[in-house]
């Protein structure tokens, strides 16, 4: 491939043994926000000029731009729907890091094979069918591509390029000195252990040059030996460190390479799984490939063979670090390694959420909430879990009292709330709120618009009598006015008493709704002080006119004051009334009716309503 005039295509500059350098860019297959951010954090710590992720391929999403941090700044990383699209736009990219699941990982590799520019394919998924994987491996070999994985965390080239989640947190990366290159080439199967090995290497040598975890499956795309041979060719690598594993015969390929002098750099190697002799029946270790089917596959046999072939094999994992340290010191002494002066990694700002959870920072919250919590295992209403809400059968009244008054009121009270909601649910289609809802519904508006159109009518004249009655009566009682004085004072002001009077009903033809509530309250309430007062007032008003009875709005408002004053301090009770809790009760109840009217109109397929001209007196003259 011809080199681009812009000089951006560094791929062509890479030596055969070099998979990554400080300019290498990758595609991430599947939306992996955390892994991508970790790569970018590494890039910034390593002082890379441009991020190592060129783009994300998200087959199930749509094309977009995704925001990430690059040190303290924010950058945008493009997201494409297909690998082909991404490759068209970013010709320099030669690495694909596929986070596709075990179901589609092989397919993602097949897609990558179609793109000549992609040379290295990392498969993270565990559990790819072995036959699929063997086919992928064979094709990769034919096309000269390098596969890392499957079932791996990836690998890292210190100070240059990091695959996905390798190395863990940025703190660990800097502690293990992965932000700048050392002299050690490392390879193992296990991703978890490679991170441990980077720690060991950083403490006992001048640091890691490159580390790869080939993955724990039976048929890894590249083998331990493949990477050791790359390190052997790479003049920057001065010593080799490797961790093998019980099961399979890959380690014998290393033995053969040692014997054939294909590996000449010092190799410190340990094969884990020497414990397998302790197990009477076969034990499947953590990795799929880790199972000795024959004597030669045991860790003991492999360690002995490696030692015989010239590898530096410790006595056990305990002195692995010592052997690495001894080997390194010998190389320094021979001046094969000259440790470079330490470079400081630029500080990466602490992630806000991480700092918060670590208790390092605090910040005043913009919002406070004290009535419900959805963060835990179960939704909480106040102090009650949603399962208790049903177990204790607290009903709508109980839920309302918990969320509105932060207290589960006793059953007599919650039942009263239920009654209020039931009684206020509707008052026919002719009242102004319902009428508005019907008109809006017929204008083709949706449920919420129609409902709100009705609710907006609620105020001093419509539905407001609850609030008004509660306030006027309790004010009079609190000021110590006798019922007669109260009636007189209202008359002097020329004002109607809220909650008194009905269009049709009268003392001889009582409103059943009022009777039901009155009886219930008389029977169950702890105190009926205000109701008693109101009934005295009613006696006076009805003596003047038959229909000046305590109406339904009045009885509800007044009894609600009695209820609140029994369950809360007087101040709290008054505050709830002032805040509009009583009004809320009416809004809540009547919403049921409004929505009923809305559904009714829709069901009846009623057309647009237009008020007739003849019903409007046009007095424009």
């Amino acid at each position: 491939m011809a080199k681009k005039a812009t000089g951006k295509t560094k791929t062509a500059d890479k030596k055969s043994y070099e998979l990554f350098n400080r300019d290498t860019q990758a595609f991430i297959y599947n939306m992996q926000v955390n892994a991508t951010q970790r790569m970018l954090d590494f890039d910034y710590a390593a002082g890379r000029e441009k991020p190592s992720v060129a783009a994300i391929v998200n087959p199930t999403g749509s094309e977009s731009l995704q925001k990430f941090f690059y040190g303290p700044k924010e950058i945008l990383v493009p997201v494409y729907k297909s690998l082909g699209r991404a490759a068209d736009k970013h010709k320099n990219v030669d690495v694909l890091i596929s986070f596709a699941s075990f179901r589609s990982a092989a397919k993602s590799a097949e897609e990558a094979f179609e793109i000549p520019g992609i040379r290295t394919i990392v498969l993270i998924a565990e559990g790819i069918p072995e036959r699929q994987m063997r086919l992928v491996n064979a094709k990769a070999k034919k096309l000269g591509k390098v596969i890392i994985g499957p079932a791996t965390v990836g690998g890292v080239k210190a100070g240059a390029f990091k695959i996905g989640n390798t190395g863990g947190t940025i703190e660990n990366i800097i502690e293990s000195k992965l932000h700048r290159p050392g002299s050690v080439g490392f390879v193992s199967k296990s991703g978890g252990l490679s991170n441990e090995a980077y720690n060991i290497i950083s403490r006992n040598t001048d640091g890691l040059y490159e580390g790869i975890a080939i993955g724990g499956d039976r048929y890894p795309g590249s083998t331990l030996l493949d990477h050791l041979l790359r390190y052997e060719k790479d003049p920057n690598v001065k010593m080799l460190v490797c961790l093998g594993e019980v099961g399979g015969e890959d380690e014998y390929a290393i033995v053969d390479a040692l014997k054939a002098k294909k590996i000449t750099k010092p190799l410190v190697m340990w094969v884990t799984g020497t414990c397998s002799k302790a197990f009477k029946t076969e034990v499947q270790f953590g990795h799929a490939g880790a199972k000795a089917d024959a004597e030669a596959e045991t860790a003991d046999a492999k360690n002995a063979a490696l030692k015989k072939a010239g590898a530096i094999v410790p006595h056990s994992f305990d002195d692995y670090a010592e052997k690495i340290n001894e080997t390194y010191k010998a190389l320094v002494k021979k001046k094969i390694i000259t440790p470079a002066p330490e470079t400081e990694a630029p500080k990466i700002p602490l992630d806000f959420n991480k700092a918060l959870s670590a208790g390092v920072i605090r910040k005043p919250a913009s919002f406070i909430s004290t009535i419900a919590d959805d963060r835990g295992e179960e939704l909480m209403y106040g102090k009650m879990t949603i399962s208790d809400v049903f177990k204790k059968d607290i009903g709508v009244g109980g839920v309302l009292s918990t969320l509105w008054f932060k207290k589960l009121l006793p059953p007599y009270a919650t039942k009263f709330i239920d009654m209020v909601i039931m009684v206020t649910a509707d008052h026919g289609p002719a009242v102004s709120g319902a009428h508005n809802t019907i008109v809006a519904a017929r204008a083709g508006k949706d449920l919420i618009s129609s409902l709100v159109s009705g609710l907006l009518c609620i105020g001093p004249r419509f539905g407001g009598a609850l609030d008004g009655a509660a306030q006027q009566f309790s004010d009079a009682l609190d000021r110590g006015l006798t019922p007669q004085q109260f009636v007189n004072s209202m008359k002097q002001k020329g004002a109607n008493i809220q909650g008194i009077g009905h269009r049709i009903k009268s003392i001889h033809n009582p409103d059943m709704r009022v009777t039901i509530i009155k009886n219930y309250v008389k029977k169950h309430f702890k105190s009926t002080a205000l109701l008693d007062y109101a009934l005295e007032v009613e006696k006076i008003t009805t003596s003047k006119k038959d229909n000046l009875i305590l109406n339904v709005d009045g009885v509800i408002g007044i009894c609600f004051v009695d209820l609140l004053r029994s369950e809360f301090t007087k101040e709290q009770a008054d505050e709830y009334i002032q805040m509009g809790a009583l009004n809320g009760l009416f809004v809540l109840g009547r919403s049921i009716g409004f929505m009923g009217h809305y559904l009714d109109q829709k069901r009846l397929k009623q057309g647009l309503y237009r008020h007739p001209w003849d019903d409007i007196a046009y007095l424009t003259e």
Binding site: E130, R134, L135, T272, G286
Partner: protein, 425 residues
């Protein structure tokens, strides 16, 4: 997630059902294989399978036991009455094969096929890194011996299928001329069947050639169970039994069930419930190294369990996992005391503080039992949030009144093993 052996009865029934599709209908194997498990009602079988009372039969245990003939676990040429009696005598009884003892609880019953020894052939297909190897020998049966040395091999690169002609020239040199085509086409179909159904191992020893047909007498097979999502429909309802003699304890079965419920990994094998050294190690690789180190220090006999947790299990799962181990290790006291190694390398993405919270919850619950059993706890771990996790562990020691020594990445991963066990012997 790996290569898993299947029962002979399942393997043969699958073959009877599907091989014909891979041989253009040329090879038909009759599905006359009955699987008998502990729940099977023997009395009802002859009604369901009429041939049982018409034919002479063969009965064998069907539990992944090798060389059954040599262990006298084979009953040949009997009628149903004898077969039934033989099974009844052995069902749910322990038996020792070689060094392994297990309970017999699965048998296969099939028709006895009278034949001459010279009609027995050996064939096996086995997966290798770059392809599959077909092994053939013209003298099959229980005396086939070392097939690796004796059998003729044909290597088939992955993605290719051998032709009958190729099989005939490369493998069937010692087969009588008149049988070559029959066997070659059988193996050709068998290979397609093996590949398409994601087998990783398929051995038929022997299969018998008589007249126009081929009959598999003894079959052993492994499927790649990661291919479940591709092949499950064709596999049908099959068992993936544990190796013979590997009886799962209740706790092991419980952990396996937990493991199947999470994307993370939870593994437990109890090696010696009375052992004094218990481990709770994070990571598939690290857990093996801890077991190595314990063995290496001469505590092989005292090693109570092997297990690991990894892949960022949530607090609840680590709690349940830890509780299971604590329960096991505090059942029987030992005057010499016990050790619990909560080990692990430096995690890539597992949240250490989170997983430790689950372990700590379990440790608190077992406070009294840990004291009574004189348990000493050693902790070593690194990774995301490890400082917080380690601090919590340190604080817990005082709270529980139990020795808890806590180390981070500055201490070599397996150092806690020697710190714990040094001076114990």
């Amino acid at each position: 997630m790996a290569q898993k052996a299947i029962r002979e009865a399942d393997g043969k029934a699958m073959m009877a059902r599907l091989l014909t599709d891979y041989t253009d209908g040329k090879y038909k194997i009759q599905n006359r294989f009955v699987s008998v498990g502990p729940e099977t009602e023997l009395k009802k079988l002859p009604n369901k399978y009429k041939w049982l009372q018409k034919e002479k039969l063969v009965v064998k245990p069907d539990q992944l036991i090798k060389r059954r003939g040599k262990s006298k676990l084979l009953l040949l040429n009997v009628d149903w009455k004898e077969a039934e009696k033989w099974i009844r005598e052995r069902m749910n009884k322990p038996i020792t094969v070689g060094t392994v003892t297990g309970i017999l609880d699965h048998f296969i019953v099939e028709p006895f096929v009278p034949h001459d020894e010279k009609d027995e052939y050996y064939v096996a297909i086995t997966a290798q890194r770059e392809g599959d190897a077909v092994l053939f020998h013209h003298e099959g049966g229980i005396n086939v011996g070392d097939v690796d040395a004796k059998a003729v091999k044909l290597f088939v690169p992955i993605g290719e299928t051998p032709t009958a002609r190729e099989i005939e020239t490369k493998l069937l040199g010692n087969v009588p001329k008149e049988r070559k085509a029959l066997i070659a086409e059988f193996i050709e179909g068998l290979f397609k069947y093996y590949a398409d159904l994601n087998y990783s191992y398929l051995e038929i020893n022997p299969f018998v050639v008589d007249g126009e047909g081929v009959t598999p007498l003894d079959l052993a097979a492994k499927l790649d169970d990661t291919a479940d999502f591709v092949s499950a429909n064709k596999w049908g309802a099959i068992d993936l039994p544990a190796p013979f003699g590997r009886m799962m304890t209740r706790e092991e079965a419980y952990i396996e069930e937990l493991d199947s419920k999470t994307g993370a990994s939870l593994k437990l094998t109890v090696l010696n419930p009375e052992g004094r050294v218990w481990t709770m190690v994070a990571g598939g690789g690290a857990s093996v190294i801890y077991a190595d180190t314990i063995t290496d220090l001469g505590f092989m006999e005292e090693m109570a369990n092997y297990g690991e947790y990894s892949g960022d299990p949530n607090e609840e799962f680590t709690y349940l996992y830890a509780r299971t181990i604590l329960d096991l290790m505090t059942r029987k006291k030992n005057t010499k005391g016990k050790f619990l190694l909560i080990g692990g390398g430096i995690a890539n993405f597992t949240d250490v503080a989170n997983t430790f919270r689950g372990i700590i919850r379990a440790l608190r619950e077992y406070k009294k039992k840990l004291q009574e059993n004189k348990v000493k706890i050693y902790v070593r771990r690194g990774g995301p949030n490890y400082k917080e996790g380690l601090n919590q562990m340190r604080a817990l020691g005082d709270e529980l009144g139990v020795t808890i020594e806590v180390y981070g990445p500055e201490t070599h991963m397996t150092k806690i093993v020697s710190m714990a066990l040094k001076g114990d012997k």
